[in-house]
């Protein structure tokens, strides 16, 4: 599974319920997926979806046709040069994407990140950035 971030920009959406367009579009492919986050912001209606890796291209193409902006934004990256392996971010990560390896160094498993961003302001070295 992998995570995509889909936004229906304001202007394109007339109604908040238009977000169902995103869902209906994906449902056409008869696949199982998870909705990780639903939010409305200044940019429009945004959904963070966890979808099968092999369907990413298909779904992305189809959503773009309906004016949905699709990107992988929403997850974080860790700058190893800034990180000092303290661990202040680890207890905030709900999926163990941020964890210590066997040598007690911070390890980030990108595929586990669900983009909750709870860790973002926990890093005393500002080594965690939103992608």
């Amino acid at each position: 599974m992998t995570i995509i971030n889909c936004t229906l920009p304001f202007g394109v959406v007339k109604d908040v319920n238009d977000y169902s367009k995103i869902i209906n579009e994906i449902l056409r492919y008869d696949i199982t997926f998870n909705i990780l986050k639903f939010s409305t912001g200044s940019g429009g209606v945004t959904l963070l979806l966890d979808i099968p890796l092999d369907k990413v291209d298909l779904i992305t193409e189809s959503l773009i046709k309906h004016n949905v902006i699709v990107n992988k934004k929403g997850r974080v990256i860790v700058d190893d040069d800034k990180c000092i392996d303290c661990g202040a971010c680890i207890s905030l990560c709900p999926t163990d994407a941020l964890h210590l390896d066997i040598n007690d160094r911070l390890e980030f498993s990108y595929e586990k990140c669900i983009g909750c961003l709870l860790c973002l302001d926990s890093c005393p070295r500002k080594a965690i950035e939103e992608m």
Binding site: S91, L118, R125
Partner: protein, 490 residues
């Protein structure tokens, strides 16, 4: 079996000394027993790498021409303390830059200085006959200045508490970001690797002890501030030459909404002079206990919820009333271990010898709270009677009460006196402007509250942070028992 410092140093010089880290010592004692471990091992090295807010540096810049006697000075916009001779200063790691507070502070400055980066020095003076220059603005590096001495009044806490948050909101503290309702836990300290845990009775660590500090050689100057040996919260006062140090072991940090600090690497060698020290240096995380403390209560004496050991903490999960709470460190075990191993190499290579302390550290210093001469006032001392309307009442009645009681805030409850919301005179005005006629359309349901025993200062901070001017006072059952407004606080 008794060894002396001189014997151990002779073995170090001849390359025969056996040096192990505190983690390795555990295995050696387990496998060979105390007696053999004490005979064979000469030195156990320890290490810790964590945020140490008391840290700072004394710097001497040399004299300018014409000479200046600083009144105020800034290094990369971080205000340094000047209250000593003309071109001396002390810069503390928690002092935040005037221009980028919460991003850059004294800790970052010290890291940059040690990394050899140019530092902007600005200063001014009221001028004297002997120091006539009024202003200076220049660039310096660590090589340009005379002395750069790391001087930290409180380092290397023997152990530290584990912080959790019972409150309803996320707290940003010096113990990191604490999620509401016990959402996570943070601890600090290297446990079995930590220097003072390996010499808990301060047999070998004392005034003058030579140590690893920030990648260079440093010394213990004595007991640290807030040294509390009876509670096993011992601390050390340390100094060292920044010119020998490495920015790898001195890292500026910034905690969100708290401020800046600095991570410091400290490593202390423990000579195995007797079997007792072999036993002490074999201490395990399971044997080192600390307290889980609730930072949701913003008082000096925060509630202690339970005791945990460092094994549980390092495993990443603690249990609190049947709930598993994810727990992580604020200090780096990886770097603590690296420091212990680097110090081990220094001694093995004969570059670092051990010395007995000139004096040992106090075993009975007390850590006292601050004496306050003004009496602490609580909400119950200043609250007044709340003007209450029921949730089903007419908006007009609310408006009448506002006028009748000359009160800006009307508390809305049910018949049982449970808090349901709050309405202000501004809400009523807004209702008229927007043609709203029902109380339910204008009521604020999410209400910030206080209790009888909350100190006034904390109630005032709640009002300030939330930009409101009144707090309903509720009891343990969430029934309304009064109100406190900004007028009472004036």
């Amino acid at each position: 079996m008794v060894k002396t410092y001189a014997e151990i140093n002779e073995k170090i010089k001849s390359g025969d000394a056996i040096i192990v880290s505190a983690e390795e010592m555990i295995k050696i004692v387990e496998e060979s027993g105390l007696r053999i471990a004490a005979e064979e091992v000469d030195v156990v090295t320890t290490g810790t790498f964590g945020p140490m807010c008391s840290s700072g540096a004394f710097l001497n810049f040399g004299h300018s021409d014409p000479p200046i006697k600083f009144e105020h000075l800034w290094l990369n916009d971080v205000h340094a303390y000047h209250g000593n001779a003309a071109v001396d200063c002390y810069v503390g790691c928690t002092r935040m830059a005037d221009i980028k507070p919460f991003e850059y502070g004294g800790g970052h400055l010290i890291e940059d200085l040690v990394a050899g980066k140019p530092i902007r020095l600005r200063g001014n003076s009221y001028t004297t006959d002997c120091y006539p220059l009024a202003e200076i603005d220049t660039l310096i590096t660590i090589d340009d200045i005379n002395q750069a001495i790391l001087c930290n009044p409180r380092n290397a806490y023997q152990r530290y508490i584990c912080a959790v948050n019972s409150s309803e909101k996320t707290l940003y503290t010096y113990m990191g970001k604490l999620l509401p309702q016990f959402g996570n836990a943070h601890y600090a300290g290297a446990g079995e690797l930590s220097p003072l845990n390996n010499d808990p009775d301060y047999e070998t660590i004392g005034i003058g002890t030579r140590i690893f500090l920030g990648g260079g050689i440093g010394y213990v100057m004595g007991e640290g501030t807030q040294h509390s040996p009876e509670n096993r919260f011992g601390t050390l006062f340390l100094k060292g030459d920044l010119k020998q140090m490495s920015s790898e072991y001195l890292r500026g940090v910034s905690y969100e909404k708290y401020g800046t600090s600095m991570f410091i690497g400290v490593g202390i060698p423990i000579p195995i002079l007797n079997e007792g020290l072999a036993k002490k240096t074999a201490i395990r995380d399971e044997e080192i206990f600390t307290e889980v403390v609730d930072y949701g209560i913003p008082r000096r004496d925060r509630p202690i919820l339970k005791n945990v050991n460092y094994k549980e903490l390092k495993d990443g999960m603690i249990d609190l009333d049947g709930k598993s709470i994810k727990c992580s460190s604020l200090s780096s075990i990886f770097h603590a271990r690296k420091i212990a191993n680097e110090l081990k190499e220094w001694i093995e290579e004969g570059r670092f010898l051990l010395n007995p302390p000139a004096e040992t550290l106090s075993q009975d210093t007390k850590f006292k709270p601050m004496r306050q001469i003004s009496e602490l006032k609580f909400v119950k001392d200043l609250k007044r009677e709340a003007i209450i309307c029921y949730e089903d009442c007419d908006l007009k009645i609310v408006a009448e009460k506002i006028i009748e009681e000359n009160m800006n805030h009307i508390i809305i409850t049910d018949r049982e006196n449970f808090l349901k919301g709050i309405v202000t005179s501004f809400d009523v005005t807004k209702a008229i402007a927007k043609d709203k006629t029902e109380l339910k359309d204008i009521i604020t349901k999410k209400v910030i509250t206080t209790t009888d025993n909350e100190p006034i200062e904390l109630a005032a901070r709640k009002m300030k942070l939330n930009e409101i001017s009144a707090l309903p006072v509720i009891d343990d059952n969430k029934k309304v028992i009064g109100i406190i407004t900004s007028e009472e606080l004036m």
